[in-house]
């Protein structure tokens, strides 16, 4: 998990770095390209004589259209300014957009207007025109005033377009001041067109704030007084002189400012005029015009000229500025969304492949990426994972790049058009360039982000549709129609959310596949991607169709509730997908309902020890939530145009319920359990595990579903595991008779699998000491643990006890039973349990206390100089194995009384962090280099280095323990039993049985000779055999009637036994061994003499084994239903008898 977090951290950092590099390159290109464009324009127009067209009657007709809304205070002056424009064939159209002030009256009075009949030829739909006015004074013959019902700027412009008679229209804001030669300069590109039609032309807009204006003309240029105004002056220079000039030269310009731009009227009309539904009508029109030209395969150009032609007032208060930028952002988004088809569409040439992507990635995403950057910076800061030298270097680079770009813009402006020529103004501009990143830029970014949020809330088409929603459509309709309308509307609203969910889910599966490929080289040889994808997609469609039903149902209660529910559920599923596959990746186990059988404290300990419960991961989780929830939330505002997509999704979902998944999956690439599990949908497993767990806990529901037949087995009064004690002493013959009852030391090694503790294991021997000890011991290489986790090792090994529902120790109150602790204790043994961790974990302490163990050593009883294991983020599972062994030697004094000590290690537990790691890593490297390992072994070993290094540490600690023990007098009269609680799932399992395949050895100086037993045995067999040994050789009194599942080490799960069930996890009793057969999750395998297994297809055998397993489960079920493993009378009688003996 830590590595995943680290990679995610790296990915985020690199995404930002790559984005910054892209921004850097784009703006570098803009700067250089604009310089060329400005110079070219300057050179081409050095001697241009505009008088050529100023008074030429053959020059094209231009119609200046100026919409006005409540401009009464300035409109007369503004119109006067327009009338002074130097161009003969000109028409000036003022469109009064339903002003509520006296604009019209003032115009009528000032220009001697009279209402005329005017037939409007244009066909662009607009609000109603109330009147058209012309001046009676011939001096104002160019002026045409239109009075119309209010409809917004775009609507007013459309009226102007409809009414205009010019070949070209010039759309301006009425409060703009045009340079007198503005139309002359704008006209030139149109007149110069040859092969390519110039469809639009813009000029540079400059700030009128603080400029001296006389008779509608700028007579003295000054910089605005406020910093806000100055930064906008700088921004306008950057935008118009650099940005637009570069894009114009590259034929990629898609924005001609709404404040001042000229258009080819024929194309404007062909495109349908301005879109009055958008707030970014200027950009939208240019995009639509370009789109029209591309679709009709006509050559065209959109031109920007660097001459300052228009002067406008900019907002000098933050509030107005924010509103303006908010609107710009919404306009950009509306245009990009409306023309989304163009994005990366080669059919639209540069427009689709360059301009639109640029606007999408840099103009639209720019503020959002920057804002996200601030947020991530805060998260990283809180998490303390910022590399400050890197941050400051990068920050300085970003800021200085911005300053460079601004100063460069000032320089280019100086080279080109010299608006600000006063020394004072230039100094102020440079000072503004330095301050801008800290003062102005954050305001603009914030406003942009706010604009994006507003866009997705209410302020665009879809939002309005959502608000109108049901209520508008249902008026006057019957109940049935209303329901149908509601279902229709809800489904259309659900589809975008569902599609976004499916995309995220598939993306998460893609990440899962990538992560496996990145993390597990052994998976590189197996094509697991297809099955993983199909399994998840199959489930994804089922989730979507199931979700649709819930969504439609909830929609009747409340649409917003349904939406919230869908967003929360889908986000949870996507997030959980990450959790599930990361859990699998870390533990090699599939996460199922067993997670519920750990207490909150245990969970916390697991999470802390694995390093998952860190601020980094919490930060990542929060980021991931935002990353997933935001698009889901945005999509919840959308709806599809029709029902088709929704119906297709529903049909797909329903179809997947009937099409068996197996028929879709490809060939299973390997029988290795790890590979098999890797390609499974983790979510499907989690769901099915939870479902079966629920049914198990609710037999009444299971019976309704016809899945429960176990209740029919057994009757009250039955104790299915109870039998007479008849275990043979198979150990006695191998030992010399000791003068006193021998001590027993049981060493339970966490995760000690056969695969890496034996030379015959598929990884090789990484426990040289245990290996050498096994040569001097009674050794069972074919031993099985009873679970895939630690939770069952104590009851199985020490009591040969059944599992109950989720493990014997999970029961609220442990039922009376016999175990090695309490039987030996009653026979005079001193008993002890030694563990470096928290003995409450897995309810081990409950077992110890029940058994009245004399000495309990766990992490709370350790202290200096014992060392804890290193932790992930400060937390670890507890004390290292060296400490446990040393503490045992320290605590267990030499005594005449026999003793039983059980030691449970934990150094080999995930996350496999050990002290003195370097030493054992060197040892590992030496071993890999020197040991007689095959190439396959070496490959496996290198892939699992971390785990095996911890195994070497354990082995070394064990060696030291024995060396120390040998020095004690009681060593010679002690039996040492060593086994693993289960194999490490973190090391890939070759077969299903490998999870349980652990070594078992009994060493003692009392041994006559070493012996290796080839028969299959299990932990269930240990207690019966040990007690038989003590009973036969040292006359210990053991119960006459017992509940041992095992038949003893001589028999194991042979055909004479009832077989042995094995729990993979706390809710998975799916493995069963009987004789040489292994039944795993319904699949039958044949075991050979080395516990290797092959799939077996034999229906008769399968039936027998399944029947046996069912019997085992029935017996187990009966036990946990009764909550008694044996009658109290037997229990009481044994202990009374024993007590009475002493």
């Amino acid at each position: 998990m830590l590595e995943f977090a680290h990679i995610l951290y790296e990915i985020i950092i690199w995404l930002f770095i790559l984005y910054s590099i892209a921004v850097f390159l784009i703006y570098g290109w803009i700067g250089l390209y604009a310089y060329g464009a400005v110079l070219r324009y300057k050179h081409e127009n050095t001697f241009t004589d505009y008088n050529l067209i100023a008074t030429n009657p053959n020059a094209p007709r231009f119609s200046v259209i100026a919409p006005a809304f409540n401009e009464g205070k300035t409109i007369v002056e503004n119109v006067r300014s327009l009338l002074s424009i130097y161009y003969h064939n000109l028409e000036i159209i003022i469109v009064n957009d339903g002003s509520r002030d006296d604009s019209m009256d003032q115009l009528i009075a000032a220009y001697d207007l009279e209402r005329v009949s005017f037939f409007i030829q244009g066909t662009v739909p607009t609000k109603e025109v109330q009147g058209v006015y012309r001046s009676k004074n011939p001096a104002f013959k160019k002026l045409l005033v239109v009075d119309k019902v209010n409809g917004g700027k775009a609507d007013a412009l459309n009226v102007g377009v409809n009414i205009s008679s010019g070949e070209y229209i010039v759309c301006i804001d009425v409060d703009c001041i045009l340079e007198q030669d503005a139309i002359l300069k704008l006209a030139k590109p149109f007149l110069e067109q040859t092969k390519k039609r110039v469809i639009a032309c813009g000029g540079v807009i400059r700030l009128a704030n603080n400029c001296q204006i006389e008779n509608g003309k700028v007579v003295q240029v000054n910089l605005p007084k406020s910093w806000l105004g100055r930064t906008q002056a700088l921004e306008y220079i950057r935008a118009f002189v650099l940005g637009r000039m570069a894009w114009s030269r590259a034929s990629g310009l898609i924005l001609i400012s709404g404040a001042f731009g000229a258009f080819d009227k024929e194309i404007v009309l062909a495109c349908g005029g301005y879109d009055s539904k958008t707030v970014g009508e200027d950009m939208e029109l240019v995009v639509r015009m370009r789109r029209y030209m591309e679709e009709h395969k006509l050559l065209y150009e959109v031109v920007n000229i660097p001459d300052p032609l228009c002067w406008t007032e900019v907002p000098e208060t933050k509030e107005v500025l924010k509103k303006q930028r908010n609107r710009w952002m919404r306009g950009t988004m509306e245009t990009l969304w409306k023309h989304r088809k163009l994005l990366f569409n080669p059919r639209y040439g540069r427009l689709g492949m360059v301009s639109i992507p640029y606007w999408f990635f840099f103009e639209f995403l720019g503020p959002l990426v920057e804002f996200t950057g601030y947020f991530i910076f805060l998260v990283f800061w809180i998490l303390g994972i910022i590399n400050w030298p890197f941050f400051f270097a990068l920050f300085a680079l970003v800021v200085s790049s911005g300053i460079l770009y601004s100063i460069y813009a000032v320089l280019i402006d100086l080279v080109g058009h010299q608006v600000y020529t006063k020394r004072k103004d230039l100094s102020k501009l440079i000072a503004t360039a330095i301050l801008e990143p800290f003062y102005f830029h954050p305001i603009v970014v914030k406003a942009g982000v706010r604009g994006a949020v507003d866009y997705f809330r209410n302020k665009h088409g879809w939002g309005e549709m959502t608000r109108q929603g049901f209520q508008q459509g249902v008026e006057g309709k019957s109940w049935g129609q209303q329901v149908r309308f509601q279902l229709d509307d809800a489904l259309r609203n659900y589809v975008p959310i569902a599609i976004v969910f499916l995309l995220f889910y598939v993306l998460a599966v893609g990440v899962e596949r990538w992560w496996y490929g990145y993390n597990f080289t052994q998976l590189a040889d197996f094509p697991i991607g297809w099955n993983l994808f199909i399994d998840n997609l199959h489930l994804g469609f089922q989730i979507v169709s199931g979700g649709a039903l819930i969504y439609l149902l909830f929609s009747f209660i409340s649409r917003s509730f349904a939406r919230g529910f869908a967003i929360a559920s889908f986000a949870f599923i996507v997030l959980m997908q990450f959790v599930l596959f990361l859990y699998f990746s870390e533990s090699r186990n599939l996460l199922g309902a067993d997670m519920y059988y750990y207490s909150a404290i245990e969970m916390k300990q697991i999470l802390e020890a694995s390093g998952m419960l860190s601020w980094t991961n919490i930060g990542l989780l929060i980021s991931l939530i935002l990353f997933v929830v935001t698009p889901l939330w945005i999509s919840s505002k959308w709806r599809t145009k029709n029902l088709y997509v929704g119906l297709i999704l529903l049909i797909m979902g329903v179809t997947t319920c009937f099409v068996p998944l197996r028929s879709l999956l490809g060939k299973v690439p390997s029988s290795e359990e790890f590979v098999e599990n890797a390609e499974r949908s983790k979510w499907r497993y989690f769901l099915s595990s939870n479902l079966s767990n629920y049914l198990q806990d609710h037999p009444e529901i299971a019976s309704v579903l016809g899945e429960e037949s176990l209740d029919l087995v057994g009757t009250d009064g039955d104790y299915p595991f109870l039998r007479g004690e008849d275990t043979k002493d198979m150990l006695g013959p191998y030992f010399n008779q000791a003068p006193a009852t021998p001590n027993l030391v049981v060493i339970l090694v966490e995760g000690l699998g056969h695969a890496y503790s034996s030379a015959s294991g598929y990884i090789g021997c990484f426990t040289p000491f245990i290996d050498s000890l096994s040569q001097q011991s009674l050794y069972w290489p074919n031993n099985l643990s009873t679970s895939g986790r630690t939770f069952s090792v104590l009851p199985s090994l020490m009591g040969s006890l059944p599992f109950a529902t989720h493990g014997f120790l999970e029961q609220d109150v442990l039922p009376n039973h016999f175990n090695l602790f309490n039987v030996l204790k009653k026979n005079g043994f001193h008993t002890g349990f030694y563990y470096g961790g928290n003995s409450d974990f897995d309810f081990m302490k409950k077992f110890i206390l029940y058994s009245q163990v004399d000495t309990l050593i766990d992490q709370w009883t350790f202290g200096p100089p014992y060392k804890k294991l290193p932790g992930n983020g400060g937390e670890s599972w507890g004390y290292e194995d060296q400490a446990v062994f040393a503490k045992t030697l320290e605590t267990q004094k030499v005594m005449s009384q026999p003793y039983l000590n059980v030691l449970l290690t934990l150094s080999t537990h995930n996350p496999f962090l050990i002290n003195n790691a370097e030493h054992y890593e060197m040892m590992f490297d030496r071993r890999v280099a020197q040991a007689d390992l095959s190439l396959d072994n070496k490959k496996w070993a290198m892939e699992n280095r971390k785990q095996l290094v911890s195994v070497l540490n354990l082995d070394d600690a064990l060696r030291a323990f024995f060396e120390a023990y040998k020095k004690r007098p009681d060593f010679n009269n002690t039996l040492f039993l060593i086994t693993g609680d289960h194999a490490m799932p973190e090391i890939p399992l070759e077969s299903k049985i490998d999870r349980y395949h652990v070594p078992l050895l009994i060493y003692s100086p009392l041994l006559k000779s070493a012996h290796t037993f080839k028969n299959t045995v299990s932990h269930f067999d240990v207690t019966p055999s040990l007690l038989a040994y003590y009973r036969a050789n040292y006359q210990l009194h053991t119960p006459d009637q017992v509940t041992w599942i095992g038949r003893g080490l001589s028999e194991g799960p042979s055909n004479r036994s009832i077989g042995m069930g094995m729990m993979q996890s706390k809710n998975q009793l799916i493995d069963f061994v009987y004789g040489n057969y292994h039944l795993s999750d319904g699949h039958l395998y044949k075991l050979d003499g080395k516990l290797d297994e092959e799939p077996l297809s034999d229906a008769a055998v399968q039936e027998v084994i399944t029947h046996r397993f069912d019997a085992f489960k029935r017996a187990n079920k009966l036990f946990y239903t009764r909550k008694q493993v044996l009658p109290d009378s037997i229990y009481a009688r044994y202990f009374e008898k024993v007590i009475s003996k002493h």
């Binding site: 050095t46 053959n58 040859t194 100063i407 000032v410 440079i430």
Partner: protein, 355 residues
Amino acid sequence: MLDLITLHELILAVIVVLIFVLILVISVLIFSFFRYKSLQHRQSWTTIIQQKITEVIVDGAERLPKDTSFALYLKIPSFRRYFLSTLVSSERKFTGKAREEVSRLFKVFNLEAEAWKKMRSKRDYLIAGGIQELTAMRVEQALPQISELLKYPQRQVYQEAQYAIVSFKGFEGLFFLDELQHPLSDWQQLRLLRSIEEVPDTHFEHINKWLGSRNESVVIFTLRLIGQFQLLTYYQEVLMLLDHDMVTVRKHAVRILQNLENQSTVNQLLTVFDNQCIEVQLEILKALKASKSKQTELFLQEQLRSHPDIGIKISAAEALMVLEGQSYLRAIVTSPETSSQIIQIVNHALQEKTC
């Protein structure tokens, strides 16, 4: 990815780029400073040059007093270039005697060499500037070199060469049209038209050839030329162009026919009207409106009543207005059988007050 680049290397890379950016910032600032200084110089130079031009216009170039400080300025190459470009700009602002005096300044200060230098440059804009300056100075020796530049691949250069040749040679300078492949922009056409003072009677072949050119812009330019100089002899050739493939050519042909109007023009326009597209029909109606011919009245009334296109109806109504057909139009407005659309159109034409 940090496996490929260590964090340390990344920080170093960022710092290197940062230093580079800071160096660029300083360079841009220094360059801006010099640019600002140069601007200031130019402003002071402008005053000096303007003063000199005023002196020349008032006193004449021959009688200029010896000005040592101005001579010193002239030794500065950038001043000479600026002086030259200012003179070229000023030359266009004046006419007559003043223009001659300003032109004389080129020779007095030996600025021709600067222009020649430019024209021999390899940069397009310098070559174009050189052509413009040599043209303004009327350096006829430059004509052979300028003529060669008519086939220069860059638009800016060949357009300046075209303009220069026509400026020097008048109508004969247009002979390049014979083989012109590039389109002539409207802007260029207007420039060329303005440079031609007369069209000799002896060049029928050229004009006919241009009217038949495959280059549409050459045909339109020729039509404009015919219109500008009222070359009535080409009436038939222009009339033939009403069958031209290109709509723009036909539109211009209608305009020029109206310029060259004779007794049969109206009938000829009425004859071809139905065969033309809307754009050309609108142009014909404009021509009929300009002709004010009474014989078109019925035709216009018919178009107003029956033509499907509103633009045609409006143009017909406006033309009727010019033909003093208000009474007819008023009668239509008051007739109960007239559709509201026609009433609106007629009202539009009548431009009546409604309140």
